[in-house]
């Protein structure tokens, strides 16, 4: 796996607009960004409305994922290029999700929406309508998803990478600072977790740092190459960004994303917490 297998540049996207077999997908939590202008031909996925189970706290099951992709006009053999706001957090989450369900060809656009906008590239308000398909998903690949018991068992034995900001890690704040600080769970982090904020892996324009910079970053912060890894944040989207860096860019094996993350862990009765 190399960077070119999992990442495309904004230039590449601009050169490939309208190419058959390539589907651009904007993934946001706040889809008003998409509605105000998107990459030409891109369909939208709403992180909350489209990608979360409407009742339970979980992602969509296999049949619901199949129905979603079919309705969006995405086929099994399409190359899917994901991008979005928030420095590609939700696009990285969708990337992880597409991998869970076995999509063959999926990549991120480096820098996401921010890079595209800062470059002054064109955005379209045209309604995108792709004919429906019959998408068939694989059984979920749970080798890249961690659950709570696994996280508790990993204390002191695996790399637990907390990718939230230092102030969330220390418990000074409970959520990223663009949100009201009113969460009910306890503040702090999983004991023995190392704090390597997702943002250290990205440049200010949202693009990923170079492979050399990334390798040096994790080595400096005490990442143990000989241990399996679980990444977490608050709800699992920033940790998808780091999961992407570790597994897809740096090629590390046995890296899982704990999408339950701090909202779940910080609410569990009796588990150890450090501040």
């Amino acid at each position: 796996m190399s960077r070119n297998d999992v990442l495309v540049t904004a230039d590449w996207v601009q050169d490939n607009l309208g190419t058959p077999g390539i589907v651009f997908v904007e993934v946001d939590e706040d889809t008003s960004a998409y509605d105000g202008g998107h990459i030409e031909g891109a369909v939208k996925l709403d992180w909350k409305q489209d990608l979360q189970d409407p009742l339970r706290r979980d992602y969509l099951d296999k049949s619901a994922f199949e129905a979603l992709l079919s309705a969006k006009g995405i086929s099994n053999d399409d190359t899917v290029i994901l991008y979005g706001g928030n420095n590609n957090w939700f696009a990285a989450y969708a990337y992880w999700y597409f991998k869970i369900y076995g999509h063959q060809s999926v990549k991120l656009m480096d820098g996401g929406r921010k890079k595209w906008e800062l470059d002054g590239r064109p955005l379209s308000k045209d309604v995108v309508d792709r004919p429906a398909t019959r998408y068939v998903a694989s059984e979920p690949d749970l080798s890249i998803r961690a659950f709570r018991d696994e996280v508790v068992a990993a204390i002191g034995s695996k790399n637990l990478v907390d990718v939230r900001s230092p102030d969330e890690f220390s418990g000074k704040i409970l959520a990223p600072a663009h949100l009201p600080q009113e969460q009910s769970q306890r503040a702090g982090h999983v004991p023995t977790a190392i704090n390597i904020p997702w943002s250290k892996a990205a440049n200010e324009d949202g693009t990923f740092k170079s492979d050399e910079q990334l390798a040096a970053l994790y080595a400096e912060q005490g990442y143990d190459e000989n241990r399996p890894t679980i990444a977490y944040c608050r709800i699992g989207e920033r940790s998808s960004h780091t999961w992407f860096v570790l597994r897809e860019l740096l090629g590390k094996t046995d890296v899982k994303n704990y999408d339950g993350s701090w909202v779940e862990y910080g609410s569990l009765v009796g588990v150890p917490i450090e501040k």
Partner: protein, 97 residues
């Protein structure tokens, strides 16, 4: 949720007795800058959050009391302000030269 809620506007529904709000607007050449990226950095200069300004150039963060830096990145350039925030409302303006 981690996506930024709608920026700016009224403070209705925000409890200023418990929240440390840092808000303001981004200006360039005598006009507000819409669609600017504004990030909040902690006292060690580490990223804490990022939002996009409204059509009126407004942004808002929910932080904690202490020293923060707000940095704006837009197609027209960059600007930065240091804010010593207290509980309640803290307002600032970032000017991009």
């Amino acid at each position: 949720m981690c996506g930024a809620p709608k920026q700016g506007g009224s403070l209705a529904g925000i409890d200023l007795s418990t929240q440390t709000v840092i808000q303001g607007s981004v200006w360039h050449d005598g006009a507000p800058v819409a669609g600017a990226y504004v990030r909040l950095l902690d006292s060690t200069d580490e990223f804490t959050a990022e939002v996009v300004t409204t059509p009126e150039g407004e942004f808002r963060f929910f932080a904690a009391p202490g020293a923060w830096k707000v940095r704006s990145l837009a197609a027209v350039g960059k600007g930065e302000r240091v804010v010593d925030a207290e509980l309640g409302l803290n307002e600032t303006t970032i000017v991009i030269d």
